[in-house]
Subunit: 265 residues, 2 copies
């Protein structure tokens, strides 16, 4: 095994994906020269990567502007990813109903690498959503869905995750230490649901419930979000029955469908 300086020289595919990331991170069409500035690769090498990726549909090239953007092949792949590796397809009808019943914003999230990945979402007003809203990641330590999931992680998984958190104080109410979080998590465990009391964004509050397998393994979480202008934490608890109903329906179907028990790793 090559320890020490692990250069990017350990795989052509890896390097090409680096370039893909670079384009994606811009969020706007990018010029070749812009990529070149940030790239560790020489002109000709980067040029070839960009050519291959474009030819493969992973990037799209606008010949008028001479700019590169993420390609439509990625959109296609996304559909598959969303279908296959998330709870979203199972949860869809239940989120729809929850959204109708509560009239509030609804989130479905899963835990990934210590972060919260929003896998699906219903807006307070719009009844239909796409995977477009998946792919957004957020902090685990200051969101309702994040804390709901952390509360049910076994210690061996929880410890490293807590270590990864940035503990940035987004608001005055953000929990910013591991110890405080462990206390909060035990309360959430006892209570069965988590709140986000403006810990991430001022004025935004939510109530969240974890999706668990029968054996207690965490699959994800669902939350109902509102604003302090419209209600308060107590007010949110009136959505609990609907929230619990949705979560247990999702858990039941997920169990049958795809997540037989036993933890990984």
């Amino acid at each position: 095994m090559t320890t020490g300086a692990r250069q990017a020289g350990d795989g052509t595919v890896a390097k090409a994906l680096t370039v893909l990331d670079a384009v994606a991170e811009h969020g706007r069409p990018v010029r070749f020269s812009e990529l070149l500035e940030e790239s560790p690769y020489p002109k000709a090498t980067l040029y070839r990567f960009v050519q291959v990726l474009t030819q493969q549909g992973m990037l799209s090239f606008d010949p008028e502007r001479q700019t590169y953007a993420p390609g439509l092949r990625l959109v296609r792949l996304a559909h598959a990813a969303w279908q296959a590796s998330s709870l979203a397809p199972i949860a869809r009808p239940h989120l729809d109903r929850l959204s109708r019943e509560t009239g509030e914003t609804v989130h479905l999230a899963q835990l990934d690498g210590g972060q919260v990945l929003y896998v699906d979402k219903r807006n307070a007003r719009e009844p239909v959503a796409m995977y477009s809203q998946a792919g957004k990641v957020g902090p685990a330590y200051c969101t309702g869905v994040g804390k709901a999931m952390l509360a049910h992680l076994p210690e061996t998984e929880l410890a490293p995750v807590l270590q990864q958190q940035s503990w940035h104080a987004f608001t005055g109410k953000t929990i910013t230490t591991s110890d405080a979080m462990r206390h909060e998590l035990s309360e959430i465990r006892a209570r069965g649901h988590a709140f986000d009391d403006e810990e991430h964004e001022p004025g935004i509050i939510c109530i969240a419930v974890p999706i668990l397998t029968r054996s207690g393994r965490v699959l994800g979480a669902v939350s109902v979000t509102s604003t302090t202008a419209r209600t308060d934490l107590d007010g949110l608890t009136r959505h609990l029955p609907a929230l619990r109903a949705a979560v247990s329906a999702i858990a039941g179907e997920a169990q049958d469908w795809r997540f037989p028990d036993q933890a990984a790793e």
Copy 2:
């Protein structure tokens, strides 16, 4: 010496992406052996590809069941792609409005490699089971959005695309030859909008309008879909004003956003 131009054997990256596609197409976690069966590559080679892709986060591996699924990095990239290179973010409010006004299913599509890629969708108030979801691909020659876009393709792009079509007769009304299609396309061009008269699915009809730049380049298309049980082609034309309004709004914003006259920001 350049060997005879063979198929996709022209790059490691391309081959790896092929593997990605294979996993994505399954729509469920796949075993290594399943991939091996379909793969043109020998065991060791495929194994290395899968290893690299997993290590890179493009695939995720479930060690319990020894299965591969599309990975989280892919979800993130895909989100970026959807945001940056599709019309969806621009079109969103307009699709919402069109959906409200018509009460029917609304599709936003783009052309990708001779196929129709549905990049966004709004369901009808009465949901009808249908073959289309955001991120899915469909045939260009027998869908309203597909024909609307083909009608405005320059000849140099149209010819190869027509050659790629399968011309499978999904229904008795499907157009199944290039010549018939060229005639249909000229009618669509003259008329300004395309119909799908049960050419893809029995009972499903739609009206579609292309999204064009000022210079006439095709960006995408929007359609309003209904069923023969509820209306007919003439009936669909009453949605034309709303459809045109949505399309021209999208075209206008797309022009500003994606094709600015000056690089700014």
